[in-house]
Assembly symmetry: C2
Amino acid sequence: MNMEMKVLPTAADIDAAAHRLAGVAVRTPLVNSPALDERLGGRVFLKAETLQRMGAFKFRGAYNKMAQIPQAARAAGVVAFSSGNHAQAVAEAARLLGMPAVIVMPADAPRLKRERTAALGAEVVLYDRDRENREEIGRAIAQKRGATLVSPYDDPAIIAGQGTLGREIVEDLAALGLKPDLVVVQASGGGLAAGTALAIKSAVPSADLYTVEPEGFDDTLRSFRSGHREANTRMSGTICDGLMTPMPGELTFPLLCGLIGKGVTVSDEEVGRAVAFAFRELKLVVEPSGAIGLAAFLERKLDVRSKTAVAILSGGNVDTDLFCRLICA
Amino acid sequence: MNMEMKVLPTAADIDAAAHRLAGVAVRTPLVNSPALDERLGGRVFLKAETLQRMGAFKFRGAYNKMAQIPQAARAAGVVAFSSGNHAQAVAEAARLLGMPAVIVMPADAPRLKRERTAALGAEVVLYDRDRENREEIGRAIAQKRGATLVSPYDDPAIIAGQGTLGREIVEDLAALGLKPDLVVVQASGGGLAAGTALAIKSAVPSADLYTVEPEGFDDTLRSFRSGHREANTRMSGTICDGLMTPMPGELTFPLLCGLIGKGVTVSDEEVGRAVAFAFRELKLVVEPSGAIGLAAFLERKLDVRSKTAVAILSGGNVDTDLFCRLICA
């Protein structure tokens, strides 16, 4: 274990990440919709991270982590285990940095995701979801090749990278003469939530933050209540496929406790309605995990009236079939 | 006839329009996609006017026109004939300015469009597309009530309002240290094309501009070639329902000739592929008429290699069924 793994990131790490990402990541727009504002009675802003490289926020953390790998270690490459947005983010960052990448994916991952990852130049290693452990496979490959393992969230460089998104929210609101009163951020492993909270609270201590999770996958909320990391009881059964990690991260959880400490949950049906709303009213393609914060606002789980409120549209990688089902519902 | 109708707008009119629209219209983002840049070998920017009020650029012109109606004439309201984005733009501007609005629509217009227009507080007057003339009906209502007719394009205030979009393109590129080399703009009545061209050419005379039209509805391109206004032979038969006006406008055509003078055409199939590309790769919901400029780039009708190139995603109001058909194709 690398001792660096245990050091919590700071706002200065987010500043450094922002410099690393400048000109590489997309500086995604903070979208405002008069129709949404009128409907909810507040000034609602949506961080359209759907427009990020590879269609999700994950590129920020992956690139920030990988750009710090010393030159001598780059030839050995990186390893990641993911079938989702993290896989493609690591593959894309590796491509840009000229490093080899191995992505460990379940053998039953959608063909499109395997093909897209391979098309970026990454080597895809498949495992049997029922009989093999992806972490063990990933660690074994990393050890054998001397490659760097890129964790999806429990790494200070990943957290700082995702935090650049929060930094941009603060900057873009300031340019309009505004400060965030209320921010809702989706929590899974907690990299996005911890990084965003760190950036926002260090710039605007008065900002009120909430996590949002799918009903039945509220490990973070239950962990806030018990004071220690609780696990999800299931690992399938929500359309929010990006929000099903086993439990909050070792590194992210103390940050989430200190900076957020409270949250809400949203049902799949409510998330589906938010995806359809984003299509119909905002003209944005948002995956279910990406629409859950918007759903919390639309369903009045959080009261944004008279507030400057922000939700993060964290990604837009949704299967065509599912998307059409949701927007036709 | 109002003599004002014959005066061509200038860049100063666009500046004045920008001040009128500040804080009312959405300052839509100029979106950049690294994936698109790599695919096309240029720096491609997309003006995401899909995120405008009512999901299309039309609000700019309508509000700029209507905000200039003298207070004494406001109580009599406005009249417009349109079943598309102009109808909702006029209804929305009227709502914001506290004016009554009558929208003349064909009786067979989609129920959703009628309901949406009515929900904005406008009075919807239906006519029989086969037996009645919408212009005559609109003019009769305007005359009877003393209401102001809001033309969809052939009015200097409308052209100047749409031109604010071009002004923002120039400003946002300048903030990145860039100037537009190549701009493609969809042409129908020509309000968007004329206004955008005026804004861009007055700031960046070296910019190279092209119109883009659906195959078979290339009245503007044929008019460029003949030197006078040619009519479309059909008024149905393309998925680009926003690009089927009878011929270039009286006022817009001289501007288009002087500032653009050349154009390309794109087939419905190519437009459909661009809609699907925008969904899959850009995570943006774009209606066919809005995706036609992007299609011209993707299909290499215009060469953007090594250039700073701009297309306008002019609107995102697409029926769910058609959208799903296009993205599943």
